[in-house]
């Protein structure tokens, strides 16, 4: 069996020619690629491979084309001479392409690393150039940003309504904002003159030690309530939050504190508690008074009947008179309790409060003169006529003025009235220069039967009755006092001009405010 060789020859001749053609085209393209970037190792690799493939194509053409020609023209001996060189060169081109390719994987990784480093260096170089060219602008911009930031935080520091303090770990005040200085009663110059300690403004040093321990332990304190004192030794309640600035520093720590004055809030809470307590006591008093009032009426009635049938000079008559007197006293107390609990009948009519006070003063003025107590009146004539129970309000003013007199041996009692047009309120203040009320008594002064007077001088119902009457008028009775300096009782009444009627028991306007 045999097969013709010419198809192989044709394939060889055409294939070899195509190999030469495309290998040289590849060299041209690879050369162009290399020219685009002469440092690119990939293009260098492709160019080297293409060169070797071109050499390979030529050697193959020698092997396949020239061989045919030499054999056809019977130059067999020449072909025998050329053949080993052609074959060897062919082999060399394979080995070269294979070697370059096998090494190229590693070269590629190194090249990638070089590219990364080059990029990093180039970026750094560009940044340096940029900074070199724009350093002045950058510094200026940064300075502007810092100034803006400083101004922003400075403003927060200065306009804050709470104390902001920067303190060393030993308590030395480094910085204190204006609100802080105002809170502790310092002026601007005080901070610059000598070092001041934050703990000096704590009522007890133990609070500072406790804060310090917590800060050192956990690095911060949150909403810790402490009693603080101002430069003039007056007290206020502060709510402190603080943190340590930088715990990594070795030479002492810096504390940042935010202190909120919660005195007003605490006072309001106290007032709410007081009002709740008085409301409960009032309910109790009303219940008791109601139950006692009827039996007392019966006792008084029967006593008066018995008195009529007795001889005026008899012992029974005297005894019955004593019973009648004490029964009446009991009834007065019961009526006062009913006033306190706002269950007593209120007869409101339009009248001027200044006139009511004036009438009360006309009664007591002579006695005050005897005791060398000066009464100063500052009445606001703008207060219009108001719907009030004149008799009961007289009782309130009488109680307050007599309390003022009893609190001092001599001095001045100032009675002021003022009209607040915006809130339509009449404000009456009774100010004395007496001994004042101790803090521990402040929460109890409106309690029924509470008195600091000696036995027999007071029932302890005056202020509680006044409180009930004012409340019944929809008003508030407030007290401020300082031991040794005196007290200020303030009555705030709503101005209701159109009311002219008899109110039903307990139908008075009830205040929902926290007093």
């Amino acid at each position: 069996m045999s097969l013709p060789v010419y198809p192989i020859w044709i394939c060889d001749l055409v294939g070899s020619a195509l190999m030469i053609l495309f290998s040289f085209l590849c060299v041209r393209l690879a050369g162009k690629l290399r020219d685009r970037d002469r440092t690119n190792v990939v293009w260098l690799y492709l160019l080297a491979v293409c060169y070797m493939l071109a050499a390979f194509a030529i050697s193959r053409s020698v092997d396949h084309i020239i061989k045919r020609i030499l054999l056809v023209f019977h130059y067999d001996s020449l072909w025998v001479l050329v053949r080993p060189f052609s074959g060897a060169f062919n082999t060399l081109t394979f080995v070269f392409v294979a070697s370059v390719t096998l090494f190229f994987g590693r070269v590629w990784k190194v090249y990638q690393q070089i590219l990364e480093d080059k990029l990093a260096i180039q970026t750094a170089h560009e940044q340096l150039l940029f900074m070199n060219h724009n350093l002045e602008d950058l510094v200026e911009e940064r300075t502007r940003e810092l100034a803006l930031s400083e101004r922003k935080y400075r403003r927060i520091f200065e306009v804050s309504r709470d104390m902001i303090a920067v303190v060393q770990d030993d308590g030395t005040l480094l910085t204190l904002n204006p609100s802080g200085m105002e809170m502790v009663g310092l002026c601007g110059g005080d901070m610059s003159s000598g070092s001041r300690l934050l703990q000096d403004y704590f009522e007890t040093v133990g609070d500072w030690s406790s804060l310090q321990r917590t800060l050192q332990g956990q690095g911060y304190v949150v909403d810790t309530e402490v009693s603080m004192k101002r430069a003039d030794n007056t007290l206020f309640s502060g709510l402190i939050s603080g943190s340590v600035e930088d715990r990594s520093r070795g030479n002492g720590e810096i504390y940042h504190f935010l202190v909120k004055d919660i005195s007003y809030r605490k006072a309001m809470e106290q007032q709410i508690l007081q009002a709740d307590k008085l409301a409960s006591v009032g309910q109790l008093a009303a219940g008791i008074a109601h139950e006692i009032n009827n039996p007392l009426g019966i006792i008084l009635g029967y006593t008066q009947l018995l008195i009529r049938s007795e001889n005026e000079n008899s012992q029974n008559f005297e005894d019955l008179r004593i019973i009648e007197k004490h029964t009446r006293s009991c009834k007065t107390i019961v009526e006062n309790l009913l006033s306190f609990s706002r269950r007593a009948q209120t007869k409101k009519a339009a009248c001027r409060i200044n006139d009511v006070i004036e009438e009360v003063l006309s009664v007591v003025r002579h006695q005050f003169q005897l005791e060398k107590i000066v009464i100063i009146e500052e009445f606001d004539p703008r207060i219009p006529a108001m719907a009030i129970d004149e008799a009961k309000m007289k009782q309130v003013f009488m109680n307050l003025i007599m309390n003022a007199r009893q609190a001092m041996k001599s001095g001045t009692v100032r009675i002021e009235t003022r009209y607040e047009e915006t809130g339509r309120k009449a404000i009456v203040r009774v100010i004395d220069e007496g001994m004042g009320i101790e803090a521990r008594h402040m929460t109890r002064i409106f309690d029924p039967f509470f008195t600091t007077k000696p036995t027999g001088e007071g029932t302890g119902l005056g202020l509680s009755v006044s409180y009930g009457i004012v409340k019944d008028h929809g008003g508030e009775l407030l007290v401020e006092s300082e031991v040794g300096k005196g007290s200020i009782f303030t009555i705030i009444l709503p101005v209701l001009q159109t009311v002219n009627q008899t109110a039903e028991p307990g139908a008075g306007k009830r205040s929902q405010s926290g007093h």
Partner: protein, 151 residues
């Protein structure tokens, strides 16, 4: 003591060898078949390197670009060509199976001796090795052209 022995024994052996020389066959002679073996080994090395090129192109993700994908196809064709060439050269060595008559004329024919039909067909087919290497170089050309456009 031990250290002296450690140095003395190798020194004594080296001295003995230097002082008793013999005739040596320093240059190895090479016969005719070595050329064919070297050529075959070069084909295998070429094949292996093309395989490595394909692995490297895929591993580095370069084949996502069309240019490199064509280069990969070219490498694959060259692998096939190397296989064909290795087989062809191997079968060339079996002179008794295939005889070339009238090699210097256009009427030259291949006569087959004792070889089986499949082996004959394979031998004849391996002679058409340009069917693999020409597409390989064309793919390489296409790949370079695409790369040139991308750059």
């Amino acid at each position: 003591m031990d250290r002296t022995l450690t140095l003395a024994v190798p020194a004594a052996i080296l001295g003995y060898l230097l002082l008793s020389p013999q005739a040596a066959m320093a240059i190895q002679s090479h016969g005719g078949p070595e050329g064919l073996y070297v050529h075959q080994m070069a084909h295998i090395l070429f094949l292996f390197s093309m395989g490595a090129l394909i692995y490297w192109l895929r591993d580095s993700g370069l084949i996502k670009a069309p240019g490199w994908r064509y280069v990969q196809y070219g490498a694959f064709c060259l692998i096939l060509w190397n296989i064909d060439a290795v087989l062809g050269h191997y079968l060339d060595g079996h002179g008794s199976s295939f005889v070339l008559a009238d090699e210097g004329s256009w009427s030259a024919r291949v006569h087959f001796g004792s070889g089986s039909g499949k082996l004959v067909a394979l031998y004849y087919f391996t002679k058409f090795d340009h069917l693999f290497c020409v597409p390989g170089i064309i793919f390489l050309y296409m790949g370079l052209r695409r790369l040139l456009k991308q750059v």
